[in-house]
Amino acid sequence: MSNYYNMPKLPTENSPKVEIFVDDKAVMVPGDTNLLEALKAVGIETPHVCYHPFLPVSGNCRQCLVEQEGPRGRMLVIACYTPVAPGMKIYTPASSARVKNARKATQEFMLVNHPLDCPICDKAGECTLQENYMEAGQNESRMRPEYGKNYHGNPAHQFVDAKGQVRGGKHVDLGPRVLLDEERCVQCDRCVRFMRTIAGSEQLQLAGRADHTYITTFPGEKLDHEYDLCVTDVCPVGAMTAKYFRFQKRVWLLSHTPTVSMDDSLGANIWLDHADGRIYRVMPRCNPEVNRSWLSNTSRLAFQNFDKNRLPAMDVHTPAFGSGKVALVAGGTCTMEDLAAIRMLKDSLGDRAEIFGGSLLKVGTPDGIAMSGDPVANRAGMKLMGFADVADFMKRASEFETLVTVNADLFGEDPAASSVLEKINCRVALTPFDDATAKKATIAIGVRHWSEVQGTMVNSLNILQKLNACPVCPDEKLEPAFQVLSKFAGCKLQSAVEAFKKVGEYASALAGLTYDTIKSTGKLLEGGEA
C-alpha cells in the first residue's frame, strides 16, 4: 500500500508560521506539517504509537486523537494525519474531556490483549505503551479474568500456558538478528512500513485480521537485511528484539553517549549505550539531515569489536624519523584533531614530510538510508586539511624512508601492498588495534579508539559533527592519537579543545568555531549542500 501511505512533512527552521487555536488559545505553529508535529513544536506532546516521523503515516493506533472544530461541530481526528490549516481550532485533553476519554479508551483497548510482562520485557523503560499509559491511561483495569485474552500470534506458534490460557508465540526466530514476541505486538505496522518504504524490501507483513492479526515473514523466508535491526528501534513495544541485546541489560541502567559512527563517511549519528565500563548497544540518534533514525547493521554491530584485540598503552619517546622522506598516512577514522596533530608533526619535520589520507578499501555507493559506502569517514575533513590521497603514496612509496600510519591499517586493507610497504625501513603505527599494520610495524603505539575520544569529523554531506568520549576505554593510560602525535611534534596538546583550535588554524572553513557552537546534529560547513 506504499503509494497510499504518505510521508509526514516535518517542520523545519524555515517553515512558515501560522496561527491556530489550541484550547482556545492562539499559538503560532509551523504551517507545513501535521498537527502532531505542530503541537510538538509548541511543547504539547501527543501520545502516539504508530506514527513515526520518518515513516509513512498509517494512522491505525488512534492514540493521538484531538478534537477539531469543523462544519459539523467538534470532531475527533487523528493529529498525525491532520494537516495544519490557519485558524483551525483544536482541543487537547487540557480542555476537552472527550479527547481525554477517547485516548483513555484507546489505551484500554491497546492493553486488552497485551501481556503485562514488563518485568521481563527488554523494552521496559523505553516502551511507548508504558509512556502512554502513564500519560493518557492510568486506569484501573475493568477486565475480569473470565473475559480472557486473545493474544496475538501465528496459530502455529500458539501454546497453552499453566493457567490454560492460549498464548501467542514467544521468541519466534524471524531471521539471523531479530526475534519476535508475537503476543506483545500491538499491530502498529511500523516494522512493516519500515521494511517496505525505507529498506525497500518487503520482508515483513501483517497476516490475518482483527485481533488474530500477527506479524510474519513470507512462508519459509527470513528477515535478513542490512537494516533489519532498525525494526527493533521502531517497534514501540517489546515485540521485536535484537538477539545481540536481548536480556543483556535493563535499559534504565544504561548511560548514553551521543557520538558519530566512524565506519562510514556519512557519519551516522549514534548513541553509545554503556554501563559497567563497556558498550552494550549502539542506537541511532535522530538527525533529519544525516541518517534520520536509521542505522545499518554494520555500524550498529561494530561496537562488539571495539574492545577486542587492543594494543596496550606504552610510554614512547619520539621515534627517530631519520633523515629521509617521511610519509604521514591518516586512516579513515582519524578525527579532525588527529589530522591537525599530523599537520603539526609535518610542520615540525619540514619539507621532507608529506601527508596522505584515506584507505585502500574500495569505495561503494550510497544506499540512500544511512550509509554513503565510503569507508573513509573523515574524507571531507582530510580534503579541508590538505591531505593527499593515499593512492598517491602507494605510487611513490619507494621514495620514503619512514612511514607513520595513524589509524590506517594499510597492510590489512590490501595484503598485496605489504611487499611495497615492507621496503620502508622505519614503520611507525599509531592504532587502537593490534592489526596487521601494528604487527608489521617497527614501532606500534596503542591509542584510543574513536568511540573513546572527543573530537569532530566532517561527513560526506560537509556537515561538521561532534564525537564524544564514551568512558569505556580498556586502559585509562591510552592517549588519543592527537596527543601522541603532538608530543612527537614537540608541543603536546593537552585536550581536544586545544586540538580543535589548531584545526581552525589549518582549515579556514572551521576557523572561529568551538565545540559549543556545533549543535548535536552538526553544523553545515559553507560550500556544502544540505
Binding site: S58, N60, T106, R142, R144, Y147, V186, L206, D211, T213
Partner: protein, 435 residues
C-alpha cells in the same frame, strides 16, 4: 398493498439473463443517440433531478457523487460497482445480478457516458458464483451485440466491464478497502482524504456505486427524472429493493417506494410475523440499531424517518425478530461476526470488537456478572467516530442500543450465573505479600 412501479425488479422471473429476452422487455433502449447526444453534465443533471440516492447503505446522492469526479485530471476515470454484499440480512444485489445482469450493464454504460469512463469493475463477492456466471454470460452477449467494447453503437465511445471476484471479506464492502482489494492489496480501508472520487483505484478518480444504484439508471433514463423522484420522499427519490428476512411468513426481495410504512412491508409484502409477536426489527441490516415493536408501528422506510429514530436505513435489509428470541444472543452473533471481520488496523476496533464478543459469550453462556452490561456500554462508547472506517460502530452502535432497549434480556441471562454478584477481583492480587 398498493401496486408499485418496478424499477429494478421488473424482469424478475422472466428469463432476462438472455439478451434477446432483455431486449424484448425494452432493454438497451437507452443506449441510443439520445444518450450519446447528451453531454456529461446533462446526464449528471438528469440523475440529480431524479433524486437518486446511493443504495449501498450510506445514502449519498448519486448525482452529487458523480459531480465530484474531476474531469481533467489527466487520468482515467474508473467506475467500480460494489457487489460485495456482506451486510447481515442483505441479499438484494445477489438476486438483482442473478436475475437481471443486463440491466446492470445498461446502467453502467449510462454511468460511463456520464463520467467519461473507459472501464468499469464489478467487484463481486466471491461466494456469489451463480451471479458471476450470470454476469459473465451477459457480458459476453453484450460484447457480441456491440453494447460494450470499442466504438459502441458506431460512436467513438469505448467501454469495458470486468468482473472481479472478491475473497470474502466483509470489510471489502467499504469502498477504499474494496479498491485496495481490487488492486491486489490487503483489503483494509484507506485513510481519507483523498477520497476515491479524487484518488481511488490506481490513484485515479474512481466512482464506487452499489449494484442497485446503477440498476435504477435504465428506468430513470427511459422515463422523466421527475417521475422517479415523485415515487419517493422529498429528499430521496424512487423505489427501493427491500430484503425482508427473519420471522416472517414470506421472506424475500420486495421492491417498494421509499417511505412505505414498516408495518406495511412486514404484513402486506412479507405476510406477517410468524412464530410469535413482533419484538424488534433491524431496519437496515445487521449493523443498525433495532426498533422496538412500538417504534415499528410508526416507522416508515426512508432515510429521514429512520435517522430520526436513531437507527439507519442502510441497505434496506429488514430483519424481523419475534419475541421468542433473546436479544443478547442475537448481539452475541453480531459480536462473533464483527470481531471476525474487523480488518485489524485500528486499535479500538481490532481489540474492542473481540473483547465485546468475549464478554457477550460469557453472558450467553450463563457466566455473566453484574456490571457487564455497563462495561459493554462504556466500551462501545470508545468506538464512536475514532476509527478509519465505520466497522467498529457497526458493533458499538448495536451494543449501545440493544442494551438500552432490551436490558431485561441481558439481565435475564446474567441472573442465570449463581455468582453473578461476585465483584471483580484483580488477578494475582495478593494483599500483604509485598508490603
Amino acid at each position: 398493498m398498493a401496486e408499485c412501479v418496478k424499477v429494478c425488479t421488473a424482469n424478475f422471473g422472466k428469463g432476462a439473463q438472455d439478451i434477446e429476452v432483455y431486449k424484448k422487455l425494452g432493454g438497451y433502449a437507452n443506449i441510443s443517440d439520445r444518450l450519446f447526444n447528451m453531454s456529461q453534465f446533462e446526464v449528471i443533471d438528469y440523475v440529480q433531478r431524479s433524486n437518486l440516492r446511493g443504495r449501498g447503505g450510506a445514502g449519498f446522492p448519486t448525482g452529487m457523487k458523480w459531480s465530484f469526479v474531476p474531469r481533467n485530471s489527466g487520468k482515467p476515470v474508473y467506475i467500480v460497482v460494489n457487489a460485495d454484499e456482506g451486510e447481515g440480512g442483505t441479499f438484494k444485489d445477489h438476486f438483482l445480478m442473478l436475475e437481471d445482469p443486463h440491466r446492470l450493464i445498461e446502467g453502467l454504460i449510462i454511468a460511463a457516458w456520464a463520467l467519461g469512463s473507459r472501464a468499469a469493475y464489478i467487484y463481486c463477492r466471491g461466494e456469489f458464483l451463480p451471479c458471476i456466471e450470470s454476469l459473465n454470460k451477459a457480458l459476453n452477449q453484450a460484447y457480441a451485440a456491440g453494447y460494450l467494447g470499442e466504438n459502441i453503437m458506431g460512436t467513438k465511445f469505448c467501454f469495458d466491464i470486468f468482473v472481479h471476484r472478491g475473497a470474502g471479506a466483509y470489510i471489502c464492502g467499504e469502498e477504499t478497502a474494496l479498491i485496495n482489494s481490487l488492486e491486489g492489496q490487503k483489503g483494509q480501508p484507506r485513510l481519507k482524504p483523498p477520497f476515491p472520487a479524487v484518488s481511488g483505484a490506481w490513484k485515479s478518480p474512481t466512482c464506487v456505486n452499489n449494484v442497485e444504484t446503477i440498476m435504477a439508471l435504465p428506468w430513470i433514463f427511459s422515463h422523466e427524472p421527475e417521475e422517479y423522484a415523485k415515487m419517493g420522499t422529498p429528499r430521496a427519490g424512487g423505489t427501493k429493493v427491500f430484503c425482508i428476512s427473519g420471522d416472517v411468513k414470506n421472506p424475500g426481495v420486495y421492491e417498494a417506494p421509499l417511505g412505505t410504512p414498516m408495518m406495511t412491508m412486514i404484513n402486506d409484502y412479507a405476510g406477517g410475523v410468524v412464530g410469535g409477536n413482533l419484538k424488534a426489527v433491524l431496519p437496515g441490516g445487521s449493523s443498525c440499531a433495532p426498533l422496538t415493536a412500538e417504534e415499528c408501528a410508526v416507522a416508515t422506510m426512508d432515510y429521514e424517518c429512520l435517522a430520526s429514530m436513531k437507527t439507519m436505513f442502510g441497505s434496506g435489509a429488514m430483519i424481523v425478530i419475534n419475541d421468542t428470541h433473546n436479544m443478547a444472543e442475537l448481539l452475541n452473533v453480531l459480536g462473533n461476526f464483527y470481531s471476525h471481520e474487523s480488518c485489524g488496523q485500528c486499535t479500538p476496533c481490532r481489540e474492542g470488537t473481540g473483547l465485546l464478543h468475549r464478554i457477550l459469550n460469557q453472558i450467553v453462556d450463563g457466566k455473566g456478572h453484574d456490571g457487564d452490561v455497563e462495561l459493554m456500554q462504556s466500551l462501545s462508547g470508545g468506538f464512536g467516530g475514532v476509527t478509519i472506517c465505520p466497522l467498529s460502530i457497526s458493533l458499538g452502535g448495536p451494543t449501545s442500543s440493544y442494551t438500552a432497549k432490551f436490558r431485561a434480556d441481558f439481565d435475564e441471562l446474567i441472573a442465570k450465573n449463581p455468582e453473578h454478584a461476585k465483584p471483580r477481583v484483580q488477578e494475582n492480587y495478593r494483599p500483604g505479600i509485598f508490603w
